[in-house]
Symmetry: C2
Subunit: 216 residues, 2 copies
């Protein structure tokens, strides 16, 4: 009679696989938050305590792993944006997006990496969601200006400017970072109001994608 | 007759010493800019291409090296602040300080490390200049509020908040960083005006010294 103690039931095997998958995704999020999305897969396998072969079997490319690790964040972002686009007051919607994105950035340091991750092989689901997000943001900005809430000289490069400024604050310990992000977002949104706007220096040569490219 | 070819003139020796000193200070500024002020002295000696003994002879403590490496930046800051305190319009002086400090941070990545460096042995010239700078900033804020330019709910912790936000922007490549810092400073100063101020979320638990302590 064969020794059964080392043979697991199919249910237990699936639970193991799920557990490994979660450990890999968790390790990936931590590593990306600390070092950006260029961390080698071998380093992530080591951090997760799984073999490199296990990792490659589940996530054959860096793209697959990044997309999976940040699927939740990206879908949260897309949800926040959809809600804002449905708001009858586009300026109110715009403020809600900035406030929520700033707090997400403070709560989860991997968020910026996720938001700015770009994939050389394009055409992934992740890339499609990203493109939709960019278009949605541009549409929200257009409506908020037309409605008179957002100042007319708000430049496309001001969005990455806000993200970068908030990233500086979000690097503090979490409780500090959240309070600081809320305060910073309130100051910035006040400055972005059309009402009482004053002349500004020219926009910086920034766009969401170039910010990412420079950081790699 | 002894061989003179390996004996240098006193003037040449002094020039060598000056040259070594400059290389050490340059290496220190680079290392601090990249990694903060906790880099071991041995790493700085290696980067400068001098022996550890040479470095220790000139800079016996970390404090001595940091203070010397950033003496120029700190004295620039003190000068900017003195000018602002002499300005008959304290709000104008306050804006000038924020604008200049933001650009200094963008131009020189070691600046934040310098500005926030703290020394366990205190009582150094550097520490004295720092204390004077802190007192001067507090006085400038008090006057700018009393004069009506700066909003009354500007909190002491808003200064490190601005520095952190600008540090996020200053991490970009230099030309981008300078343009982005100018734009960010303009937005923030607009939001700091007493005129048209709106309620804000509570200040974040930040102070210039704790920001530094957390980063170490």
């Amino acid at each position: 009679m064969p020794d059964q103690t080392y043979q697991k039931e199919p249910g237990a095997l699936r639970a193991d696989a799920r557990h490994n998958r979660e450990r890999i995704l968790e390790a990936a999020r931590e590593a990306y938050a600390a070092q950006g999305t260029d961390v080698p897969l071998t380093a992530i396998a080591r951090r997760a305590g799984v073999g490199v072969a296990t990792l490659y079997r589940r996530f054959p490319t860096r793209t697959a792993l990044v997309a999976e690790a940040f699927a939740e964040q990206l879908s949260l972002c897309a949800g926040v944006l959809d809600e804002a686009l449905a708001d009858p007051d586009p300026w109110h919607g715009f403020c809600a997006v900035i406030e929520k994105v700033c707090v997400m950035q403070a709560v989860d340091r991997g968020f910026t990496a996720a938001f700015l991750a770009q994939f050389p092989d394009g055409g992934t689901d992740y890339e499609r969601v990203w493109s939709r997000t960019e278009e949605g943001l541009a549409e929200l900005v257009r409506r908020a200006k037309a409605h008179g809430g957002l100042r007319a000289d708000f430049a496309p490069s001001d969005l990455p400017l806000l993200l970068l400024a908030n990233a500086g604050v979000a690097a503090e310990p979490r409780e500090v970072a959240v309070a600081a992000s809320r305060r910073l977002a309130a100051y910035l949104l006040h400055a972005l109001r059309a009402e009482g706007a004053r002349p500004l220096p020219p926009p910086a040569p920034l766009d969401l994608r170039s910010v990412h490219a420079e950081r790699r």
